[in-house]
């Protein structure tokens, strides 16, 4: 119970922190809108390629943008932890009886909450510009769960690397190094059968692709729930490993204080 309460306090603290930075909120919301509208317009005609089966490109792209945004915003999670460490806030918590797990869990949970809110906005926008999601409410809900899992995973990884690097510049470099290749080595922008075969094999091991494939299937007319469950399972397993990694990194940070 204490762990749940402490995690909740920390999550609320991080959400409030985010809310206090209106420019940051604006940028994180504008970015997916640009992705959706710009790429939607740029690649409008790719649906004429046979692999797309004539669907609307915005409807095809929207789940990809939801997933990509989940990764992009969560991958920065470790920055705030580094700032907390540098400002002595983390050390203050460590001399209090706060549950140690809550200090990491609160950040991961915050990323999940933010991802769901961003996803809602992106889906609403896609509907406004004329996309339709035949998978219905259940399909969209599944997409949200999957993107929240991915966001939580990247949040945990980012915190873990942040704890190891302890330097904002280093973490920025690492995030930028990882995020774009993961996006383009996936079916985010193009149907899987249109990307080169070797890339498809790489994409099979790419968690971003797991989320895109599962999320896109969930909102489509004939959702493949077996596939969705399998990919969601991979994501849960990866989340578990990422949390374990972040926890270990936090323990080694505690020893070094």
């Amino acid at each position: 119970m204490t762990l749940v309460r402490h995690t909740l306090y920390m999550t609320l603290r991080h959400l409030r922190e985010l809310w206090r930075q209106p420019w940051f909120v604006a940028v994180t919301l504008v970015q997916p809108v640009i992705w959706l509208l710009l790429f939607g317009a740029l690649f409008k005609r790719v649906i004429e390629i046979p692999g797309f089966h004539g669907r609307s490109y915005i409807a095809f792209l929207a789940p990809g943008v939801v997933v990509m945004t989940a990764m992009f915003s969560s991958a920065w999670s470790g920055m705030a932890l580094i700032e907390d460490i540098n400002r002595g806030v983390t050390a203050r918590f460590l001399v209090s009886p706060v549950r140690r797990e809550a200090l990491i869990a609160g950040r991961i949970l915050k990323e999940a909450v933010v991802v769901v809110i961003q996803s809602l906005i992106i889906v609403a926008l896609a509907l406004i510009v004329g996309a339709s999601f035949p998978g219905g409410v259940a399909g969209v809900a599944a997409l949200f769960v999957i993107s929240a899992l991915l966001g939580a995973t990247f949040g945990a990884l980012s915190n873990g690397f942040g704890l190891i690097m302890r330097q904002e510049e280093a973490l920025i470099g690492a995030v930028q190094f990882i995020v774009l290749p993961l996006t383009f080595l996936s079916a985010t922008f193009l149907a899987a059968n249109l990307i080169p075969t070797w890339m498809q094999h790489v994409a099979d091991f790419n968690p971003v692709n797991w989320a895109v494939v599962a999320g896109r299937s969930a909102v489509s007319a004939n959702a493949d729930w077996g596939l969705i469950a399998a990919r969601a399972g991979f994501l849960v397993a990866l989340l578990g490993l990422s949390v374990a990694f972040a926890t270990r990194a936090f323990q080694s940070y505690q020893r070094s204080v």
Partner: protein, 329 residues
């Protein structure tokens, strides 16, 4: 509770062979302000880290409020309040939110917590700024909020690690008044680390001088100074009197180490206040005219010099030098 805090033979070395603590031992009486005084790098902060459960010693034992720090860190955490070196305020949150979160961690009930937060905000002069984000607070305000946060759960033992370093002199004086009140009005046991000699002198009932990870001397500030055997008496004479002055004072038992240098007379006395009239009387009866008299109590700086063979400033600079060497690539 026999001792509020007890450190017994603490040893801690860091990688690269830096010995931070080399058998540090001391005990803090309940309800008193105790100062660990030493230059930068003496090991004070490492001692605080161990006593507040942040770090583990290589060897030695530590107890806070009779609880073993190494065996029961969680119980210790519920008993202590800590003001770290440098502010630990969450600058994205308001003063009130900072206090609220701190209290929630200790499981305080909502109404009691809101009341407590309001009381502390008022007491530390933060009531007007309570609902402003702490990013805009001055250094002194953030420091006061640090102390308020450390007090939210009404801890019995309070650790203040260099609480006034980097503050303006006026703000420092305010902070001293506040710290003094903590022990006298509220019966808290306070461990203060400082590298300001005046701070230890002003606030602490008991001072332990730390040098290179060990306590080299301890006692009340006055007691430590008394070990230097007395006050310095300094007399300015109207003109040079050559041998007359020494002759005039040769029979006085109240003073010793008499030295005359031109128009200046120096001597030491166990009790300067009592010796001065006798000195003046003796000089007058030999026709020596005096223009001014000063009695100086020995300072903690003199004490530090006696026990370490270095002045305090030199030790501080030595550490800066060492740090520059280790920081070089």
């Amino acid at each position: 509770m026999e001792h509020a805090i007890e450190a017994d033979g603490l040893v801690k070395s860091y990688p690269k062979g830096v010995t931070a603590l080399d058998g540090l031992s001391f005990a803090v009486a309940p309800g008193s302000v105790f100062a660990l005084l030493g230059p930068n790098g003496a090991g004070k902060s490492t001692a605080v880290k161990i006593l507040t459960t942040l770090a583990k010693p290589d060897s030695g034992a530590a107890r806070v409020a009779d609880i073993d720090v190494i065996a029961n860190p969680d119980r210790v955490r519920r008993t202590i309040g800590v003001v770290a070196q440098g502010s630990s305020v969450d600058i994205q949150a308001t003063g009130r939110e900072n206090l609220r979160l701190q209290g929630q961690i200790y499981g305080m009930r909502r109404h009691a917590l809101e009341q407590r937060a309001q009381d502390l905000l008022e007491r530390f002069g933060l009531a007007d700024a309570a609902d402003r984000v702490a990013r805009g607070y001055s250094g002194g305000m953030q420091r006061r909020l640090d102390i308020a946060m450390a007090l939210v759960h009404d801890p019995a033992v309070l650790f203040l690690d260099e609480p006034t370093t980097g503050l303006d002199p006026e703000v420092r004086a305010d902070m001293w008044a506040e710290i003094a009140r903590l022990a006298t009005d509220q019966g808290k046991s306070v461990l203060l680390t400082t590298h300001y000699l005046e701070e230890a002198d002003q606030l602490a009932e008991w001072v332990a001088i730390v040098d290179r990870g060990k306590v080299v001397a301890q006692g009340t500030p006055d007691g430590l100074k008394r070990e230097l055997r007395g006050d310095a008496i300094h007399v300015d004479l109207e003109r040079e009197y050559n041998g007359t002055v020494t002759r005039a004072l040769s029979d006085l038992e109240a003073i010793r180490d008499v030295a005359v240098d031109g128009r200046t007379l120096r001597a030491r006395a166990d009790d300067g206040g009592r010796a001065v009239p006798l000195v003046l009387q003796a000089l007058e009866s030999h026709g020596v005219d005096v223009s001014s008299v000063r009695v100086a109590r020995p300072s903690l700086d003199d004490v530090y010099l006696k026990y370490t063979g270095r002045t305090f400033d030199a030790a501080d600079h030595e550490w800066d030098g060492r740090r520059r060497l280790t920081a070089a690539p």
